[in-house]
């Protein structure tokens, strides 16, 4: 099995979290119900926060090549 560059793996993981978060937010924006507001902030926001945090962590923790 070929070694995967940790930075590449982190980027893909970050990207996946952000895509999930953004899709949840896009779906919530279609609805005007209070539950959509809660899901937008709690679930969508959580994925976005996690994605951005992992990305920032990955760029500061990966050694320069």
């Amino acid at each position: 099995m070929p070694d995967v560059d940790p930075m590449v793996w982190r980027l893909q993981f970050t990207g996946s979290l952000l895509i999930i978060g953004l899709l949840i937010e896009a779906i919530c924006l279609f609805s005007a119900k209070p539950i959509a507001f809660v899901l937008f902030v709690a679930i969508g926001g959580l994925f976005l926060f996690a994605g951005v945090t992992v990305y920032l962590f990955s760029i500061v923790s990966t050694p320069r090549s």
């Binding site: 980027l11 896009a26 809660v38």
Partner: protein, 210 residues
């Protein structure tokens, strides 16, 4: 859906597509330009989307339709159409003394510092009770705290009808008491017909002409 919200949805989907390109082709980030692009796409755009989305959702949460979308609030929405000028919410709504599309929020927000945040947190409590708790019957719903005159005075303070009204000026102490919230506008027996939902069946309703 409002145009602003549509544009935000387009931005969100565009951002997701760009992130998808980076996930599928991470080699793009090997160059200096690719790293800058990755920073914009993985940091700047998601934060921009989140901030714009929250702003849009906050504005939408002020609308009358948003508040009345819960089944429990139906009777309260109906009470806005009672054809009787002594019904304070109905008279305000029908005569556009409050913006009709933000009627609930205009009267039930808190015009103090951090008031909007406070009422949004109260709103979250409503959602929690609605979905995970036992919502009370509409006629048993009570305010968390007595209605503060501050919310009325936000618009009426300084208005001639308020400052020079015969009842308000009959006793010099009355106006001072109203302004200091020691004499309630609503529960003192003066303007006490609010959302009288227990008598909705007998009420006559106004029909809005389109």
């Amino acid at each position: 859906m409002p145009l602003g919200t549509t544009l935000i949805v387009i931005l969100v989907l565009f951002s997701a597509a760009l992130i998808g390109v980076l996930v599928a082709r991470p080699a793009v980030t090997a160059t200096r330009g690719g790293k800058i692009l990755a920073f914009l796409v993985l940091f700047f755009l998601p934060i921009l989307c989140g901030a714009m989305g929250i702003s849009s959702e906050m504005e939408r949460s002020k609308t009358t339709a948003f508040c009345l979308s819960c089944h429990t609030m139906e009777a309260y929405g109906k009470s806005l159409y009672v054809d009787d000028p002594s019904h304070i919410p109905a008279a305000h709504f029908q005569n556009h003394r409050v913006p009709a599309d933000e009627a609930c929020y205009t009267c039930h927000t808190d015009y103090a510092m951090f008031g909007t945040l406070k009422v949004k947190l109260d709103g979250l409590r409503h959602v929690y009770i609605y979905y995970l708790g036992t919502p009370p019957a509409p006629e048993n719903i009570k305010l968390y705290e007595p209605y503060n005159n501050r919310e009325c005075l936000h618009c009426h303070l300084g208005a001639r009808s308020f400052e020079e009204g015969a009842t308000h000026t009959a006793d010099p102490a009355t106006l001072r008491a109203i302004k200091s919230n020691s004499l309630s506008c609503l529960s003192s027996g003066c303007h006490d017909v609010v959302h009288d939902i227990s008598h909705l069946k007998e009420a006559k309703f106004w029909k809005e002409k389109n």
